[in-house]
Structure formats: structure tokens, C-alpha cells
Symmetry: C3
Subunit: 490 residues, 3 copies
Amino acid sequence: MGNLAACCRSFWCKPKNPDIRISLPAVCFVWQIAMIILFGLFVRYDDESDAHWSEHKHKNNITSDIENDFYYRYPSFQDVHVMIFVGFGFLMTFLKRYSFGGVGFNFLIAAFGLQWALLMQGWFHSLDPNDGLIKIGIENIINADFCVAGCLIAYGALLGKVSPVQLMVLTLFGITLFAVEEYIILNVLHVRDAGGSMVIHTFGAYYGLTISWILYRPKLDQSKNLSGSVYHSDVFAMIGTLFLWMYWPSFNSAIADHGDGQHRAAINTYLALAASVLTTFAISSLSAKKGKLDMVHIQNATLAGGVAMGTAAEFMISPYGSLIVGFVCGIISTFGYLVITPFMEKYLKIQDTCGIHNLHAMPGVLGGVVGAITAATASESVYGHEGLVNTFDFEGNYAKRTPATQGGFQAAGLCVALAFGIVGGAIVGFILRLPCCWGDPSDENCFDDEVYWELPEDEESIPPILEYSSHMVGKNTDMMSQSNFTVEQS
Amino acid sequence: MGNLAACCRSFWCKPKNPDIRISLPAVCFVWQIAMIILFGLFVRYDDESDAHWSEHKHKNNITSDIENDFYYRYPSFQDVHVMIFVGFGFLMTFLKRYSFGGVGFNFLIAAFGLQWALLMQGWFHSLDPNDGLIKIGIENIINADFCVAGCLIAYGALLGKVSPVQLMVLTLFGITLFAVEEYIILNVLHVRDAGGSMVIHTFGAYYGLTISWILYRPKLDQSKNLSGSVYHSDVFAMIGTLFLWMYWPSFNSAIADHGDGQHRAAINTYLALAASVLTTFAISSLSAKKGKLDMVHIQNATLAGGVAMGTAAEFMISPYGSLIVGFVCGIISTFGYLVITPFMEKYLKIQDTCGIHNLHAMPGVLGGVVGAITAATASESVYGHEGLVNTFDFEGNYAKRTPATQGGFQAAGLCVALAFGIVGGAIVGFILRLPCCWGDPSDENCFDDEVYWELPEDEESIPPILEYSSHMVGKNTDMMSQSNFTVEQS
Amino acid sequence: MGNLAACCRSFWCKPKNPDIRISLPAVCFVWQIAMIILFGLFVRYDDESDAHWSEHKHKNNITSDIENDFYYRYPSFQDVHVMIFVGFGFLMTFLKRYSFGGVGFNFLIAAFGLQWALLMQGWFHSLDPNDGLIKIGIENIINADFCVAGCLIAYGALLGKVSPVQLMVLTLFGITLFAVEEYIILNVLHVRDAGGSMVIHTFGAYYGLTISWILYRPKLDQSKNLSGSVYHSDVFAMIGTLFLWMYWPSFNSAIADHGDGQHRAAINTYLALAASVLTTFAISSLSAKKGKLDMVHIQNATLAGGVAMGTAAEFMISPYGSLIVGFVCGIISTFGYLVITPFMEKYLKIQDTCGIHNLHAMPGVLGGVVGAITAATASESVYGHEGLVNTFDFEGNYAKRTPATQGGFQAAGLCVALAFGIVGGAIVGFILRLPCCWGDPSDENCFDDEVYWELPEDEESIPPILEYSSHMVGKNTDMMSQSNFTVEQS
């Protein structure tokens, strides 16, 4: 408490009060009602999900319902959906006492974010010029999930240190920034980034890291005993890891071109991820006494190959190219956990709970670079004339763009993503530090579900000294609280 | 024991003997053999899964294998399958000491139910008039999974209080009632209910609640210390929640019309579910001291939007309409957990372990009403002429039905579902109370896996007073059972 | 230690040193670099995943992108992928203290194996005669996952008793043997085995069992207190079971013929699995005091129906035929756990951690036999002329083969699988016993993650006597290690 008092002399700080009974419901209601109104004003079904589809078919000489985009993309959509909610959600359950917050707040902000993303991305990409309405179909909801991924990555850096109200604000601004950044990169610069190495991972990671830097908590070590994992929470986190790992080929191929585009994107990602696993195990073992593996590396760095293939997955990078990307990323990412995260925390004052710098920032940037190089070296001999045009969309205004130019624009896109992440993160971080009823936890309460969740009875009703038995089955709580047992403790 | 003696004076009661060594194997064998015989007599492949498919193609001018219904529906089928076994199964692992029973008995009755459902639904819907045989394909196995869902919902009300033998009987009758009810609603009344707000959720919930009412256990509080959750069991339950939540768009679209029907059903469900999440978090936080969230709400009420979109998902309810449905359901359902479930237990003598009244009954009824209204207000201007005919199947005998009439029939369908649930539940509840070797647990053994499962050794071999350490790693069991440690306890 | 000294007198044995700090990274790096080089030399995209697809379409009069094989098989591929990594991985988390090793090493060897499988299978099946390059597409990556499954089955017998370095070697040889065996069975003998009862399950199981026999550890009971499960590890294992069970229809149909072939394979597998569940519950209950169910049976024997349908799933075995296969397998497999596994351990010196003999070996052999009989009894009246030719691929060199002959070849294929499993296992087992730096654990360290993993702090920092509290939340570690609490222990 003395600490808190001292702290409050600073302009920004006042005693933390993590009561969110008014603020969280208010934010949820206001934003959900706003969504309903905006959807009512702006959002309708597109040609393929509207009941006029049968007329649309006749008009466009479509012979079969199976040509509906739904059948091209729905299986990938569901895989992406699992990555967002179970993948990201369970990956964040690794903390010993923040599993509810990890999976629960992930659920909350993703459910809000996808609605706001449908609007923001819709205004930029799916506006029907005839009636000024956003027309949504399967590709929009995949993109909404993608957009949410950026904010969930940012949450990874802040896990355990912010309130759900702050997360809702982070998401509101994050989605907005994402949509603008994506529009500039994909439409203005005409850059290809099907799996989002740049627009999703680079942006999301630097957005989160910058916010974390601004919200730096110098006394976080007061809650250090909760910042690790326990045996079973690590197994839970592996559920998240594996669903991310397995479905990443769907992530990178979900909005790629029909036919060979989706096909190739899936194969490339599959290979890069496999290579990442081997180098992650290698570096993790190499770095520890007796070669013991570290679960943190296995849970995270094995995924780096998927991040780094986000841009190039649909290109003709060739199978061995994918393996090389995965090989390098597994090494870099594990190395990041070993060296860079502690360095950043100590010297740069950036506290990165899940190590998103290693899993998303570095592999994302690398992915952007790989994409730029692969694009710049593309040729008609490798792609075929038609293939080259299709893959890079060299049509309309861009009919004359060469692969080399495209490579340059890809690199420019990466810079835009970086700039939006850092500048946007700075602004939002500043907002989240404003004196306001954010309800964020005090330093000693970080990483503790106790703050925002009603925990199961058996965890609370027990005298503190007995908490070591908090996983007991509960049957004998009564017996234990009385009698000789407690006597012995005193 | 004195309690039991007293209890036995009543006609119905005799001392409980939860030994199922004869009864469970007998039921499993007899019913499985019956299934084999009935399948041998009645069930064959349909045109699309039979090796004559290639001839069928030629005859019907089908140009490509991709037109096989398998490719339209198999991805959705697999998602539904995950909902049935992992979704429902893990949602029921939340109890601290009934996780085996939750996921295990769910597995057993679903595996039986789907076989019986293929027969019952087959007789009503897929009978080939030429040879009197049931012809099955992908749509039949989706429908069988749907049919099973009704019984699993009912299990939710009874979780921890009945024996597997009782569950098998509940399932046998439940599937039978379901098939009849479904035939009346879908075929006789020509009602649309692709995602089953009425036929699955309303029926299943009232079926289970009525049975629970008849099997009321006045002394259930004797086992109350096992009726809660522990930290990790709540995380397990979130696996169930999330797989239900993520795959619900597949559930509501799995048997909708090819093309725009499936497409629209998925989008509408996606949106309704997202809105439910926000209002669930809002009400949960609003209702508790310091705004602390309750895992029970998050695990359940977030799903209410999916239930309520079951009927209207394939209609042109429009995106904002879906959001409104989800918005309302999240509120109602969370409110139900806060107020209605305790009220029902105290005053109506209905013990509802999983709160299916809040998750399935109320949202299901609401979904039926929403469906009726949406149908009644349908028009050619919104659907297009062809779209209206396709969506509501206004063909053949029903060519002259108007949307307004359809709305009336939809409402009638809801009443049929309610009636079948309540009356059927009363009959089956009565049967399950007959003095017989059901093997159900005594009041003090409810919610305890001990009764029906061999629990891992380390949980049993320890003297009671030491049970608080039942999650120990086991290494030092020996050390502990002897020596000064136990001495201190005595 | 005295034991070890004694042990070392034997030729093979020397003191175990489970340090893998050099060997594991070395193996991972060397093999991954070899993969990159070999992929660079040999592997390219096939027609459907290459950017020349649009030209390929024109040339072959393919009218739509949806005809790309990607859309026929990708959803099934993803399901298979989940089975390999989450299914097998989590099924092996059941041990109380080997969950990291179960899911982690499964991850490692699968990620390596699939790369090597793409090469080995590619050389045999997908070599382009024009340029000598392997051309890969979606079917290749499904087959690579299948190939990996064989090695993961073998791992099941050895779980907890070998080092990751040994597993990498086992996988290298296992994949190689698999590819040769598969080539002989599928191409030389022209046998049908879409779901791999023979090529995957029979081979993999006997490969693993033979290795386990050669690596027999007579003093394994020294670590017996870790060879069981705890409550939550059993629930984790159910995640694996259910994902295997639910997605098995995709496994058996993933590479079946387009159209009715995939459709029928999925339905048959769905039914066989359902029947297995009922007979597993029946036998499990019948065999125990008071009819209590055993989680080991439920986790494993329920899957036997899927294994046994591997060969016959795409045949016209008819729905009731599938139910009979599942019925029988559930019984045999559960019986195996009750009787055969203990017998094998005691008398045949085969230690089979996961009971793969019951889940893969017996049902696999049975599946091969069922396949042979079903093939031998096939007829044009049941399949139609075209259907018969398509299903058994009686084209080209095999245009004159009759169903009866095919049945004989199917039986021959089973023998080949058995022979490769046993002989190959013997060779590899012998290699793994060579005195070398394998880093395998000593008998008393088997089934213990401690050996190869950095365990979460709270498990290590506590004095041994306190380990019973190893699942504590950790908050009060400090308080506990000092003070009166420890005093009492001394």
C-alpha cells in the first residue's frame, strides 16, 4: 500500500480500483447497440448469400450452386474461426492463474472485434456503389476474423496486465487502424498479402508492443509468482498451439485465389510449419542444461513458420523455399524467447507476456521481406503468363506493373504496417494511460483471475495458508478448515 | 442410512444400488444387436453413396463428381459431429468430480442415439417407395446427429443424477419422440426449421426439464459440495463452449438449401452468436459484486444466439436482425442463470444441472417465434419470386401458401415441439421412476464419478483426511501414507 | 545405483545418461537440412497447385476452379491433420507425468515424418517421368500424414520409455519401410486400402510392438507409480480420443474415389465407430466390480471400429456390415486391454504403454481380413459394372482381375504389412539398442517428463516431501518452505 501511495504522486497514477461493474457492462451495451444501428443502416447480404442468388445465377450463366463462393471458402473459414477462438484463446491459458482471463477476454474482444471489422473493412472494400451499402458474404467474415487476429496478437503482449475495458478500447482502435492500414497496403499500394504477414502479424505485434511499452509496470515483479505456468496449464496451452499449427494452412489460403492459389498456399504453409518444429526443438534443447526442452518455445516458436509464410504462401516460392523459411523462423523465434524478450523487458521497458515479438513481430517482418523478394523475382517462365497475372492481379490499372516493381511495393507495404503499428500503438497506449476508470489491476494483482472472475468456491473459502491445497477435490473442505489440521498450521 | 430407510416407505423408493454390471452391458448388447438386425432389414446406401453413382450421374446429366451432395455438406457435417461429441461432451465436464461422466456418457448415448435416429428418421423421411428400404446419405447422418442433440440437451438437466442405463432409455424414447415430432412439424405442417430452434432445442429442453421434475431429489443438497466446479474443470468446459460457439454456423446451415441458403444461414448465426457474447459479459458483470464475471454464464449464455437463430438463420432476417436476436438472447439467458434457475429449483422442484432452461428452452422458444415472424413478413420484394419459393419450399401441395399462412404454421410447429417435450418427458420420467434396477445413484452420491468409474489409483488409495492432496503427482504417496505426516493428522 | 552397476555387466547396457543437449539438436538440424536439400533437388508443385493451373484447365477442358482436387480433399485433409497432431498427441497425455512428452514428441516426430514421407512416397508414386521430379498436391500431403500415423502408432507402444533421439530414428526408418511396403501392397499387388487397415495400422502396430519387445525393460516396475493416470490427465486424453473418433470418417474417406467412394467410406466408418462405442462400454462394465467403467477402455477401444473399416470403408460392405465390424472390434479391443496386454507383458516380454496391440494390431488385421472377404464377394449386381471397375480400379493391366482374385491379393497385402512390421521392427529395435548416445531414460525415470522437459517452477523448487502439493497455485510457496509447516514434516 505504501508503494501505491508513492506511485500516486506521479501524474498518471492513482490507486487502482479494478471494479468494472459499471464500466464493462456500459461498454458492452453501448458498443453492441451501436453495432446494431450501424448494421441496420449499412450491412446487407451480397449476391451469393442473398435469396436472389438463383436469379443472379441465371444472369451470370452460373450452372451450379457449388460455384457459390461459400463452397470454396467455408471449410477454411471454420478453420480460421477455430484459430481465433480456440487457438489464440487456449494459447493464452498457459499462466497458472489467468486461464479464465486468457480464454475469456479473448472470446469477448474477438466477438466484438469481428462486428466492428465487418463495418470498417466493408466501408473500404465491399461498398456497393449503387446503394452505398456494405454487401457481406463468406469472404467478409473471413476477413473480419483476420482483422480480429491483429488485436488478439496485441492482447498477447498485455495478457494479465490490463482490464477487459481497456481491451475493448484497444480492439475498437485496433480494428479501425487495421482497416485503414489494410486499405492502404492492399488497395492503394496494390500489395499481395493473403495470409497477412504484414497487415496482420507485423501490425498487430508492433501495436501491442508499443502499448505495452507505454503501459510499462516497473513493479510487476511483485506478482512474479503468478507469471509462470503449472503443469496442466501448459497442456491446455498446447491445445491452442496445435489448433493454430494445424489450421494455419487454412489461414494463409482462406482468401487466396480460387484453384491453384488456395492449393499452393496450403501446401507452402504446411511445409514451413513442419520445418519450424524441428528447429524450435533443436534450439530449445541446445540452450538448456542437459538439453531439457522448454514448453514456452514449443508452444510458440513452432508457429513462426506459419506467420512468415503469410505473404509468400500463394506465390511460387517452391516447396524447398517454404522449408527454408520455416527453418530460419524456428531458430529466430526460439532465440527471441531466450535472449530478446528478457533484453526488451530489462532495457527497453517492454513487458511482453506471451512473447509476441518472437512469434509475430520478427517472423511477420521476415515474412514481408520474403514476400517482397519472391514477388520481385517472379517470372513468366515460372508462373506462366496467365498465372503471373492472376497471382499478382496485374490487371486493370496495374496491367503494366512488373514483378520487380511489385517487389518494391511489397516492401513499402511492410513499412506502412510497421508505421501504423507503432504510431497507432503509441496513441492508443497514451489513451489507455489517461486517468480514467479503466479498472486495470494493481501490480501485485496482475496475472490473477481473482480480480475479474468469480473463482470456484473451493479456491476462495480456504484460509490462505491452506491454499497450497487449492486443487483438492473439495470433498473434505469442511473437515480441513476445523480441527487439528489447522491447529498445526498456526 | 436412516434417511434412506425413511425414504423407502414411499412407494417409489427403495435403497439405491448403483451396480450396473448386468444392466448396462445387457442394454448395450441388446440394443446394438437390434440395430444390426434392423439395419440389415432396412438400411441401404442412397443414390449418391452407392457404387451405382456413376450410372446415376449419366442418367441425370450430372457432369461432375463435385455435384455429389457429399461435397456440399460434409464439411458442415464434421463440424456438427464435433459439436455433438466435443461440444456437448466437454461443456458437461465443468463439475469438479463428474468430468468422466459428463464426457463419457455423452459419448455413449450419442453413439447409440445416432443409429436409432437413422432408422426412425429414415422411416419417416428416406423410405424408398420402390423397395421399402431406407436409403441413407450425408444428409441422413447430419440429421441423425441433430436428433441426438435433442437427447444430449435433456441429459444436461439430469447430469450427475441418473445412471447410464436410465440415459440409454431416455435416449431410446427421446429419439423416437423426436422423429415423430419432427415429421409432424416439417412434413405435416410444412414448417421450416433448418437449425432446429423448435424441433431440437425446444423439444429437447422441455423433454429434459420434465423428466428432471419427475425425478426430483429433495435431498440433493447432501451432495452439494460436488455440484460446483474447480478451476481446471471450468477450463475444460470452455473447450466445449468454444467448439459449440465456433461451429454453430455449420449447425444452422448444414441442411439448409444449397447455395445462398447455406451461405446466409452461416452468416446470420455467426452474427447472432457474436452479439450474445457481449450481452452475456455485460449482464454477468453487472450482476456481481465488483463486476466479477461468472464462468457459468460465459460457458453457456454466449451460445444462446445460436439456439435462437435455428429457425430464422436461412431466412432473409438481415444482418442487423441477427444481431438483435443475439443481443436479446444473451440478456435473457444470463438472466435465467441468475434468477430463473434458482427459482425453478426452489419453487417448481425442477433441478436443472446445466441450466438448459436458459440455454435451450427460452432461446429455443424465442427462436421459434422469431422464425414465425420472419416467415410471416417475407415478401417477393425481399426474396425475389424464385428465392421465396426456394426458401419456404412453396412447391407442389404448398404452391399456394402465403408467407402469412406460413408464419401461422411456424407458430403451430412451436406448440407441437413444446407439447411433445412436456408430454413425452412426463411419460419417460414416469418410466424412469418405476421400481427397477436402474442403478441410479443415491442423493449423497450424485455428481460423483466414483459411482460408475474406476478412478485413477491415486485418488482412491489415500486415507480420506488426505484427500485434499488428491491431485498430487503421486510420486510420494508411499512416503506420505506412513510416518509423521499421518501421525499429525490423527 | 547398484542396479545400474549390475546392469552394465551386460554387453548392451551402460549407465543411462538422458542428456540430449547435443544429440537432439544435431539430429534435428542435420535431418532438416537434408530435407531442404532433397526438396530442392526433387520436389515441385503438381498441375493443380502450380500457377500454370489456368493453362492446365484450358488444355483439359476443366470448366471450373472447383474441380481442383483441393476442393474434393482439403476438408478431409484438415480433419486428418487434426487426428495426427491433436488426436494421437492428446491420446498420449493420459499418463500422470508424461503429458508434455506425449503431446510434444508426437508433434516433433510427426513434423519430421511428414517431410520425409513426401519424399519417400513421392519417389514411389508421384515421380514425373518427364523430368524426374516429384510433383506434390493435396493428395500427397494427406498421404504424408497417413504415413506419419504408422510411426505414431509405434510410438504408442514405446511411450515414456525412449528418448526423442530414438524416436527420430524410429521415424526415419519407419517412414522408409512404410513407403516400400505401401508401394508393394498398393502398386505391385494392386490392393485397395484407402483407410490403411493394413498399410498403416497393421504395419505400424507390429513395427512398434517388435521394437518394444527388443527394448524390453525387465525392471520397469521401478517407475510403476508414474505409469498410471490422474483425473485430469484422463480428461485430456479424452480430447485425443474424441477428435480421433469424430474425424475417422474423414481419415478413411480422404483418399477414396471422388463422389460415391468418399461418400460411402465416410458413412461406413461413422457407423462402425458408433457400434464400437456400445460394445466397449458393455465389456468394460461387465468386467469390473460393480460394473465400473475403465477410462482406458473408453479412450481406446471405442476407436477400434475405425481401424477395422480402413480397408473396406469404400466397398459396398453395406451399413449393417459396418455395424457388425464395429460391434466385434469393440469387444475384441476391450478384451485385449483386459487380458492380452497383461499377458503380453508378463509372458511375451512386450511392454505396450498405450495398448496399441488392442487398438491397432488386432483391429488392423481384422480390417484386412474384412477387406479381403468384402472384395472377394463383390459382384456387378451390387456395384454395377462401372462401379465395380471404379471401386477396385480394374483398369489397364488389371482389367481382367476378378473380385475373387482381388480378395486373394488383399489377403496377400495383409501378410506383406505384417512382415514389414515385424522384420522392420526387429531391425530398428536392434539399432536402437546399439550402445550409443541415445539418451534414453533409466528404468526408474520412465514415464517422467522431468527427464526431457523444464517443468514449471512450482514442481521443482519444493522439497520432495512437499511434492504432494505440487499442483498448488504457487502463491504461497515462500510461506510454505519456511516456518512451522516444514518443521512439522521433519
